[in-house]
């Protein structure tokens, strides 16, 4: 199909699609008048049933924990796919590999990155651990930790990043994070309940270790997402490594 034909087909089919979507949104309630029961039910029972104060985290890891497990495995499979596609460069011989010369970095940038990297990693872990009580949780904290390791590359170049993100250490950690989520659910099966039942002691609401399995799954998700981002960015950075 030529380009002009494709643009015409798209233009002609946009009009019914737009009309259908507008008809769909006209059936919704007006903005700001949320009617539905589910949000109010969870807001009402979340505190006394699970002793957790962050309702979004409670929904993620307890009430809809099975869906979050599926989403986490999408992430795992994507990281495996990135590693699979990009590691084909190992098959090329070294002389024909494309390399990119590194630019000079100012000393101040290196020092600042060296100071900021542990601070941001600790901040990410803090945000992940306070998931059941305050805004945060495993996904947000894991994203912060995974992106914080880029400071090593920005400040000191590819050698520093390769020293931190060694694949022999990071890959087993990522597998451990993915396995821990399922493992926590399977222990519930061995105890006689359904998969992913909350069986740990609930604690008092507002405490750091509250919510039963919510804080355990939080830590597993933090490990998985942080190391997953580190692996994916490490593979990307190896594509533009400087010539030896």
């Amino acid at each position: 199909m030529t380009d002009r034909a494709r643009v015409w087909v798209m233009g002609l089919s946009f009009v019914p699609l737009a009309a259908f979507l507008i008809w769909g949104i006209s059936g919704l309630n007006a903005f700001g008048f949320y009617p539905g029961p589910y949000g109010d039910i969870i807001n009402a029972i979340g505190d006394w049933q699970r002793h957790a104060w962050n309702m979004a985290t409670a929904v993620n890891f307890d009430y809809r924990g099975f869906d979050t497990m599926g989403e986490e495995y999408i992430m795992f499979v994507s990281v495996v796919g990135v590693a699979l596609i990009l590691r084909e460069r190992e098959l090329e011989d070294k002389s024909s590999r494309t390399t990119l010369a590194e630019s000079e970095r100012a000393d101040g940038v290196g020092v600042l990155s060296f100071v900021l990297l542990p601070i941001v990693v600790v901040f990410g872990i803090y945000m992940a651990l306070h998931g059941p009580n305050t805004p945060g949780g495993g996904f947000q904290g894991g994203a912060i930790v995974g992106t914080a390791f880029l400071f090593a590359y920005l400040g000191s170049g590819h050698k520093a990043f390769a020293a931190i993100g060694k694949t022999e250490v990071v890959e087993p950690l990522e597998a451990l994070g993915a396995l821990a989520y399922v493992g926590i659910g399977l222990v519930a099966l061995f105890l006689g309940d359904e998969f992913l039942t909350n069986y740990l002691p609930l604690g008092t609401a507002g405490n750091l270790w509250s919510g039963g399995t919510i804080w355990a799954i939080n830590i597993a998700v933090l490990l998985e997402i942080g190391t997953g981002f580190l692996l994916a960015t490490g593979e990307f950075l190896k594509e533009i490594q400087p010539p030896e």
């Binding site: 990119l100 947000q140 992106t147 594509e239």
Partner: protein, 88 residues
């Protein structure tokens, strides 16, 4: 609806259009990062702090970085091919 919400929704629509209509990917990163920041602010106005934290990290730091690395690799490879073609 208070005026903040009007303004932020209008800005979202405008910045999404600008992001899509910028064809060169090296230039598209800037409106995309700005759109990500506006999304984070709009999620904050809609009383969703969890989603704000996710979107800030991912939309402003991670995706532009990956796009820049891809562009650098593609440009380095094209320069090397051109050099090979000039010599050979």
């Amino acid at each position: 609806m208070n005026p903040y919400q009007y303004v932020i929704y209008a800005l979202l629509a405008i910045f999404a259009t600008v992001t899509v209509l910028t064809r060169d990917p090296a230039l598209q990163i800037f409106p995309y990062a700005l759109y990500g920041m506006l999304l984070a602010i709009s999620f904050f106005i809609l009383q969703a702090p969890d989603v704000t934290l996710s979107e800030l990290t991912v939309g402003t730091a991670l995706i532009p970085f990956l796009v820049l690395v891809t562009l650098a690799k593609i440009r380095a490879r094209e320069a090397k091919l051109k050099e090979g073609k000039d010599q050979g």
